[in-house]
């Protein structure tokens, strides 16, 4: 006796959270059944393996039918076919768009194109995430990117409006879109210690301060592209390291204030010019797209690594960066205070976040 057809349709669509997770994780029905058996559900409920198989199939079919709607979440709210309570709808959407840390670190900053899609096989092998799940996550990134990339208005708001995600998740997606659009390099070996959260934090600061949206809220792409004019202007900061007097004065101002307050004062004093040159040169190079991509590599190389090798405690880094930014206001010959603050304010935030083991 074999089952040809076996279905269950409720007036209210039944959603089993555990099965949904297994489905999202890309397990086949058989694997999912095996995992459920292992979870001890048969003992708890007294069900048989056959019942579990049938139940899993049913849920998978439902999810498969829902997937089309999940691609455009507002459709899920308006559709009439599945009667699902609002809280459950929210859960379905949120879980569908949730991604794995391991996966996003592989893809972050890469072009969301077919080429990358081919690399998913490797990513799947490397991360242990099923290929199916990798595809889902990748397609989610790409879909969100396509929808919001040319939209005006706040990036986070746009994502929230079109994908009905929670604030937290919408912010993460904003970071992903921002990174993908600017193609920041995140995969280099020396960047491996950074988490997605670190990058997302930086992305948020950069969106707030360095994009067009920071100055004009009515532009297309305002939150996605960096403010080209601003990047162009950053060249002006070069004077801080090019002009030897200015550099010396800057150093002495910082050292005067920080003397006795830093545990690594002497290291700071020796390294000041290198660090300053590093930070200012990063700014000056941002006119070139390629250097923009390498922003994080440069920051780690030019600042994080030198400090780390001298064992600066985080509190010292904070003190130093604060003083380093503020002292510029006392440099009489320097005219780009506003520009400096826009640059350094964000950079300081980023560097503090990036500075850990």
């Amino acid at each position: 006796m074999t089952s040809e057809l076996d279905i269950f349709v409720g007036n209210t669509t039944l959603i089993d959270e555990d099965v949904y997770r297994l489905w999202l994780d890309g397990y086949s029905v058989n694997d999912a059944v095996a995992l459920r058996v292992r979870s001890g559900i048969l003992e708890q409920t007294g069900a048989t393996a056959g019942v579990l198989q049938s139940d899993t199939m049913d849920h998978y079919r439902t999810f498969h039918m829902l997937e089309r709607l999940l691609h455009a979440p507002p459709k899920l709210l308006h559709q009439l076919i599945f009667q699902i309570p609002p809280s459950r709808q929210a859960l379905l959407i949120e879980r569908y768009y949730t991604f794995d840390e391991a996966f996003v670190r592989e893809v972050l900053g890469k072009k969301l194109s077919k080429g990358t899609k081919k690399d998913l096989d490797d990513i799947s092998t490397k991360t242990g995430i099923t290929l199916k799940s990798c595809r889902r996550q990748f397609d989610n990134f790409k879909r969100v990117f396509k929808v919001v990339e040319e939209m005006r208005g706040s990036l986070v708001d746009n994502i929230q409006q079109h994908f009905l995600l929670s604030d937290r998740l919408a912010r993460d997606y904003a970071a992903i879109v921002f990174f993908a659009n600017n193609r920041f390099e995140t995969g280099k070996k020396k960047l491996q210690y950074l988490s997605f959260g670190d990058f997302a934090f930086c992305a948020e600061l950069m969106i707030q301060n360095w994009t067009l949206g920071a100055v004009d809220s009515q532009m297309d792409d305002m939150d996605v592209d960096l403010d080209k004019e601003f990047l162009q202007d950053l060249k002006e900061l070069k004077v801080l390291v090019a002009d030897k007097d200015l550099l010396d004065l800057h150093k002495s101002l910082v050292c005067t204030v920080l003397r006795g307050k830093l545990s690594v004062f002497s290291e700071m004093e020796t390294n000041f010019k290198n660090l300053s040159r590093g930070l200012v040169n990063v700014a000056a190079k941002l006119t070139h797209n390629k250097d923009v991509r390498d922003l994080f590599v440069d920051l780690v190389e030019k600042f994080v690594e030198p400090c780390r090798s001298d064992h600066w405690p985080l509190s010292d880094v904070r003190l130093f960066l604060t003083q380093y930014s503020v002292s510029v206001h006392s440099l009489d010959g320097f005219r780009h205070q506003v520009l400096w603050d826009r640059y350094m304010g964000t950079l300081r935030g980023c560097l503090l976040r990036l500075y850990h083991d």
């Binding site: 349709v9 019942v51 049938s54 039918m65 709210l77 308006h78 076919i81 009667q83 609002p86």
Partner: protein, 955 residues
């Protein structure tokens, strides 16, 4: 009563892309009613068109209004080639014809295509202006309400019960007008859908005419008959207090008939060798001679009548009819419960008696219906009687089988449970006459075994009565299947059932003896366990008090049935097991052994779950508001080689048990809960295929309050009943004619009489009907689409006006609030669906009309749609969605008495094709949560005192 139908097409959304080049659609809409068609403008390049059309006005006759559905077709405009159809919406405008029901239909309807399923939605507004007819002598059934509910709906009160209304509609199946190769699936499917919809309209229209004066006509089937007056058939399963006096027992009749099949070339349709030819058989047969069919049913009803008479009863309640067809053989079955009804409720009783006298008529509380209606000395079959354990005054049988719901005032001990008997019998493949004979020969044995199984399982549960009994016999090419479902309970009025004894016939072998005693122990343990599980601990009654002998452990059957074959030979089947002691199971052969085993293999539901096939679960009365209605379908393929009866039984048993287990597992998050109205349907679509369809509703209940004693329950229900009465007194139902609007009931009755006699129809016409359940079954089931016998319908008999009271005027106010612009908000309103006639924790304030929908879905890309399971899963989900959308558009928020009458599934995987026909129906209602209701009545106490409005319907 002609009227003006007005339709406005507002907008569309989520339309499919029809133009690949632009990824957009140029949509327009055709609105068709009768022979008139209007079109909207083409809305260019949009998937969310805003037509905002003018009001399209159709001037139509009320007969068309009742019969015809409004047909809305969405198309994609194409300049160079033919316009492509996107899909259709059929709207039944019947609910707009009753002034007290919906006033407007407005909302988003799924656009349905028989090939692609739902393709977007369309927002439509429909209104009807009815003109009062100048010609008062014209007959019209406008205003007769139909219900799916098999009880009197809560907001209504039955004034008079007329009897059984039946109408047979015959028509050609358009499927067969298409010749094999040139059949275009969409056109054919749509033709069929439309025809069936039209026929159901015609059917209800003509039934309405026959049932003229009755207002709250519940489900029914018609019988033209004179005898009806003395012998009403009611499809009601629940009754207003006082109506049901005594219950005799189940009466049933079956008949095997041979259909003359005319060979039809359409036989080999596009579905290849699948089963669409079921329809054909009927078509070729019936279109020629609907009268013959009518005669068949008349014959069966006559038989039922004589059985009921033998039980001393003058009525059959909980009555239903069904057919099972395979090739040219069909089994017609009818069953019901013989009963004695309070004559005051029937037509010949005085109408005014219906209210006040009912109360004084009150029988001994909670046991009256159990008392035997027949003469003790002249019993139709050997039965064992004792004095009622409740009142000690009247005689009761030791076991009671019925097809009705448990009366609300019945005193029950413990909880009830679902009891099923399942049986398969192989039969040789045969043709025509030989086949019919083979089936006829098998039937009595099946009946006997099904009955034995039921009885044994009932004993095993320690219970003594079955309610809601439904026995389904399905015929396939090489087997017969019997499935009986019922809800077992322990009635306090009936004696405690004895146990089950096992005996071997050859008691000489020691190990055999041991085996027997082992089995006996197992059975005794099971009984004890079940008693504990269902909380069956009746109070001990000493013998002297009862004054009657302890019942011997002898089993009786309340079942009286006969079975006839085409030759009309009637054989009485004595199911009382003769003189043999039925409690003793003799296991001297493999069959009996198997029976005992199957008894013990039925596993009880997991803790926290109860199940029953009646409306409510005896012993549970504290429902919470969470409900989940569902449909589950399974098709299994039997391994074809060397099938034996035993293997078949085992497979079938396993199938049903597994299905139940799956349901319990799926709904585990709802515990404690009860599966109510569990409705199994078995069909044999092909040689080795068995299809089982289950529809039921899971309702959660509060565990803490569940431990109330039954006594408290009984008291409570009594109080509730009296409260209901008071309420009804406050808002009396008026029955008056438009010519004599101020007259009270007697006048109205006179009027009825004069009207009917004037028009020259037999007075018996009055006795036509109450109730509309299986009626729809009959006239609209796929296989019985038959040419309207309407030519013969007596027209112009009765003309009356009736008013129906709402339970509370507040309901109306509330409804208006709710029906405020639908779909203004972005989220879709929740529509509850339930096969029950009520919604737990809520009050139904308004009946908006009957929903009766037919859908055909076909695919030629079965694999791509997820195989048969994916195809049917999506289709059923779509059907639910369309039912909900129609209810929401009527301003309702629930469907009660929902039933899936047909689910015919055909597949041809090798061709990658499948087809499915579904017919669903139910009553659209507005309900208000009881908690909300309390708040409202606290806020506006004055409303209750206002004279209630009289929603007058002129017919």
């Amino acid at each position: 009563m002609p009227g003006k139908l007005k339709v406005k097409i507002v907008a569309g959304r989520h339309l499919p892309v029809m133009d690949r080049a632009s990824d957009l659609t140029d949509a327009f809409v055709e609105v068709k009613f009768g022979n008139t068609t209007f079109k909207t403008d083409v809305y260019l390049k949009s998937l969310n068109p805003q037509w905002n059309s003018e009001w399209f006005k159709f001037e139509v006759d009320d007969e068309d209004l009742q019969d015809e559905p409004l047909q809305i077709t969405v198309l994609d405009h194409d300049t160079y080639s033919a316009n492509d159809a996107i899909g259709k919406v059929y709207i039944d405008i019947d609910p707009l014809l009753y002034s007290e029901a919906a006033t407007v239909i407005s909302g988003w309807f799924p656009i349905y295509d028989t090939i692609h399923g739902i393709r977007g939605e369309i927002n439509v507004v429909v209104k009807v202006d009815l003109f009062n007819d100048l010609n008062r002598f014209r007959q019209s059934s406008c205003g007769v309400k139909f219900f799916c509910t098999t009880s009197i709906p809560k907001c209504y009160r039955a004034v008079v019960i007329h009897g059984f209304v039946e109408e047979l509609v015959v028509n050609e199946d358009p499927e067969y007008q298409w010749i094999d190769r040139i059949r275009t699936p969409r056109a054919s499917n749509e033709a069929r859908q439309r025809l069936i919809s039209l026929m159901s309209g015609t059917g209800s229209g003509s039934a309405g005419k026959e049932g003229g004066p009755l207002k709250a006509l519940l489900r029914q089937q018609t019988q033209s008959a004179l005898e009806q007056r003395e012998f009403p058939f009611l499809t009601l399963t629940a009754f207003p207090p006082g109506l049901l006096v005594h219950v005799g027992g189940v009466v049933s009749a079956r008949s095997v008939k041979l259909l003359d099949r005319i060979h039809n070339p359409a036989f080999v349709g596009i579905m290849g060798n699948t089963r669409s030819y079921k329809l054909l058989d009927w078509n070729s047969f019936n279109s020629d001679e609907p009268e013959t069919r009518d005669a068949w049913w008349a014959e069966i009803r006559q038989e039922i009548k004589s059985h009921a008479k033998a039980l001393g009863c003058h009525a059959v309640v909980g009555y239903s009819e069904s057919t099972s067809i395979c090739e040219e053989v069909c089994i017609l079955s009818a069953s019901g419960t013989a009963a004695v009804l309070n004559p005051r409720f029937l037509q010949e009783g005085t109408v005014e008696g219906s209210l006040e006298q009912r109360i004084e008529e009150n029988l001994p509380v909670g046991c009256g219906f159990c008392h035997i209606p027949y003469d003790e000395l002249n019993m139709p079959f050997p039965a064992h009687l004792t004095y009622c354990y409740n009142c000690r005054k009247q005689k009761v049988p030791d076991v009671l089988f019925t097809t009705i719901d448990l009366p609300t005032d019945a005193v029950v001990v413990g909880k009830g449970c679902l009891i099923q008997a399942r049986l398969c019998r192989l039969k040789k493949k045969a043709q025509a006459e030989a086949n019919a004979t083979a089936i006829s020969n098998l039937l009595p044995f099946m009946e006997y075994e099904v009955h034995t199984q039921l009885m044994n399982k009932l004993k095993l549960k320690g219970m003594n009565a079955l309610f809601g009994l439904r026995i389904q016999i399905t015929v396939g090419e090489n087997m017969l299947m019997g499935l009986a479902s019922a809800t077992g309970v322990y009635l306090a009025a009936l004696p405690t059932p004895g146990g089950i004894q096992i005996a071997g016939k050859t008691p000489n072998d020691g190990s055999y003896e041991q085996h027997i005693s082992h089995m006996q122990k197992k059975i005794n343990d099971t009984i004890a366990k079940n008693k504990e599980l269902y909380e069956i601990n009746p109070p001990e009654v000493s013998e002297e008090i009862i004054g009657s002998p302890i019942p011997e452990p002898r089993q009786r059957s309340r079942l009286l049935r006969s079975q006839s074959e085409s030759s009309d030979e009637v054989t009485e089947l004595d199911l009382s097991h003769g003189k043999k002691d039925a409690f003793v199971l003799e296991i001297d052969d493999a069959d009996a052994m198997e029976d005992v085993h199957s008894l013990l293999t039925d596993v009880p539901p997991p803790s926290g779950f109860y199940s029953c096939n009646t409306e409510i679960m005896p012993g549970i009365n504290n429902w919470t508001s969470e409900i989940q209605m569902f449909t589950s379908v399974r098709v299994v393929r039997l391994s074809s080689l060397n099938l034996t009866n035993q293997a078949l039984n085992k497979n079938f048993n396993g199938l049903c048990e597994n299905l139940l287990k799956s349901l319990y597992f799926k709904l585990r998050s709802m515990t404690p809960c009860c599966l109510c109205h569990v409705n199994f349907t078995v069909s044999l679509p092909e040689d080795e295929l068995i299809q089982v369809t289950v529809t039921a509703v899971a309702i959660t209940f509060d565990k803490n309050q569940a431990l109330q004693t039954t006594k408290a329950h009984a008291e409570k229900s009594l109080q509730r009943a009296s409260a209901d009465n008071e309420e009804m007194l406050q808002f009396p139902l008026e029955l008056c004619s438009d010519s004599l609007p101020s007259h009270a009931f007697p006048a109205a009755k006179e009027h009825l009489e004069s009207a009917s006699s004037n028009s020259g129809t037999p007075a018996a016409q009055r006795a036509t009907s109450v109730d509309y359940s299986s009626f729809a079954d009959r006239c609209s089931s796929w296989i019985e689409l038959i040419k309207l016998k309407a030519q013969t319908i007596r027209r112009g008999s009765i003309k009356t006006t009736v008013t129906v009271e709402k339970a509370s005027p507040m309901g109306d106010g509330n409804f208006r609030n709710r029906s405020a612009p639908p779909c203004a908000s972005s989220t879709v309103g929740v529509v509850k669906m339930t096969p029950l006639s009520f919604i737990p924790g809520a009050k139904i304030t308004k009946y908006l009309g009957i929903i009766n929908m037919f859908f055909i879905r076909e695919t030629t890309s079965l694999r791509e749609e997820g195989g048969v399971s994916g195809f049917l899963h999506a289709f059923i989900a779509e059907v639910f969605a369309m039912v909900r959308a129609h209810v929401a558009a009527l301003g309702g928020n629930a469907v009660v008495s929902y039933i899936m009458k047909q689910c015919v599934f055909m597949e041809n995987p090798s061709k990658n094709q499948a087809q499915c026909l579904i017919n669903v129906s139910g009553d659209a209602v507005v309900f208000v949560r009881e908690s909300d209701l309390e708040v409202m009545s606290a806020q506006q106490p004055a409303v209750n005192c206002q004279p209630s409005c009289t929603g007058e319907v002129t017919t």
